[in-house]
């Protein structure tokens, strides 16, 4: 089965990926693997995962999002989730999903700002170049 690939863009030392279509499970899992490989290849300090165009986040996609943040974190890359729509935030809370330890920002611009701050702080502590 052909799996739709989600483009992963690089800006300076950050990666940006924006989900624009409804992801079935296998495409979502493929996306997670692609992201982690790109992080390794590019040595990106930060990753923005933009969900502006996503209208349904069920427990599967929520768990996957949390996994991506945790796995990227293990590799030393900071993840910020951006653009959660109001209805997605509402359904996530009602569903009982907790995105523990996941940093979120209202939009891409605020996400980049948050990333700069977080990565900058780590840099000052000498953990990154």
């Amino acid at each position: 089965m052909e799996v739709t690939r989600i483009p992963i863009l690089q800006i300076e030392n950050y990666l940006v990926a924006s989900i624009q279509t409804a992801l079935h499970d296998r495409a979502a899992t493929q996306f997670r693997d692609d992201l982690l490989e790109r992080i390794y290849e590019t040595k990106a300090q930060g990753l923005i995962l933009d969900l502006t165009a996503v209208d349904v986040v069920d427990s599967f996609l929520a768990r996957l999002t949390g996994d991506i943040a945790e796995m990227a974190g293990l590799m030393g890359t900071t993840v910020v989730i951006t653009g959660l729509q109001p209805e997605v935030a509402i359904t996530l809370v009602e569903l009982g999903v907790e995105l523990k330890g996941v940093t979120t920002a209202l939009n891409l611009e605020k996400g980049i700002a948050a990333l700069r701050k977080m990565v900058g702080k780590e840099g000052a502590n000498g953990t990154t170049g």
Partner: protein, 137 residues
Amino acid sequence: MAPPAKERRIPVKTELDIVTARVEGRNLARELGFGTIDQARIATAISELTRNVVLYAPEGEVRVRAIVSDDGRRGIEVVCEDNGPGIADVDLVMQDGYSTSSGLGMGLPGTKRLMDEFKIETELGVGTRVTVRKWLR
């Protein structure tokens, strides 16, 4: 007033059907006049129910239809039926945090919170039918 004759049936066998089912459900919800937040609740509920079918049963079916209550309220009904193993302990699966598979354990209790009405019928070795409803406000 005659009840609207809108019903859509979506066979559920693979993970691809999860997306198809929730898109169909959301489309009907939109046609019936549900707002974006209720549309998302309905689509998410369908996603959780159909994922259970894909995870635990060989196959199943989702039916979404417009409904009218005795006192004239309009709404949407989602029936998700499968020929899976059935659920031995319904009280247990309705507890938050319980899961036998790779899910987060919020499938059924979470789905119940998203909708206005929730009914589960199950028989071991025969299958499970979950019926959920949301009413227009």
